[in-house]
Amino acid sequence: MAEETVEINGRVYKPGDVIREVDRGSIKYRLIYGGRIKEEDRKRLLGERL
């Protein structure tokens, strides 16, 4: 499996793939796999946590 992909319930997803979509008519929900956290985001989040 490539570094950026993820396996959920036996299916492999790459960044940007929609894992779950729920359409309630007037509103739509989408759960999207983003991928690996970017280094700058990781540093920002760890820094802001301190």
């Binding site: 993820v6 959920i8 894992i19 779950r20 729920v22 309630r24 008519g25 007037s26 509103i27 739509k28 929900y29 989408r30 759960l31 999207i32 796999y33 983003g34 991928g35 690996r36 956290i37 985001d41 990781r42 920002r44 989040l45 760890l46 802001e48 946590r49």
Partner: protein, 164 residues
């Protein structure tokens, strides 16, 4: 913030649709997921409740609307024993996608539970709803208008109760 009951009656007045949601998902180590809420064209959404928790304390959350961050990053999304609310985004109407971006910056996977309630309106009615909410929230500024609204809400409530 206005009282829940007033909010619910105003929603009734403006033909709002209550839409609760709950999503549970696992985020691998050093990965991120986005949960998007998109109103159908011609509708706007109003967020009235948000909450959630995560298994690990290495979960962070950003909320975006039209490429703009709505709140400061929550760097420690609550652990399993905690519940939270985000009061600062409750006075906006959104007629396009709102994105909740969850990061797991830890070295083990985590499970996130995220839930809330949104109110949906046709766009024209959404404006009326928001104006009423603001009028109620700004009581000292215009007491006459507020009193008129409260009387109107009272009549609507009586109507609802009368039909029960």
């Amino acid at each position: 913030m206005i009282e829940d009951l007033a909010l619910h009656v105003l929603a009734y007045k403006w033909d709002g649709i209550f839409e609760p949601f709950s999503h549970i998902f696992e985020i691998g180590a050093e990965r991120y997921f986005s949960l998007t809420l998109t109103p159908v064209e011609g509708y706007a959404l109003f967020i009235i409740r948000l909450g959630g928790y995560s298994k690990e304390t290495t979960t962070a959350l950003d909320i975006f609307y039209k490429d703009r961050k709505l709140i400061d990053t929550i760097t420690q999304f609550p652990d399993v024993n905690t519940y939270f609310h985000l009061p600062n985004i409750f006075s906006n109407l959104f007629n396009a996608t709102v994105t909740f971006k969850f990061y797991n910056y830890g070295s083990t996977s985590t499970t996130v539970c995220f839930h809330g309630v949104v109110l949906l309106f046709e766009e024209a009615k959404a404006k009326g709803f928001l104006e009423d909410v603001k009028a109620l929230a700004e009581i000292p500024k215009d007491i006459k208008e507020t009193n008129r609204l409260l009387e109107e809400l009272n009549d609507i409530l009586k109507g609802i109760i009368g039909r029960m």
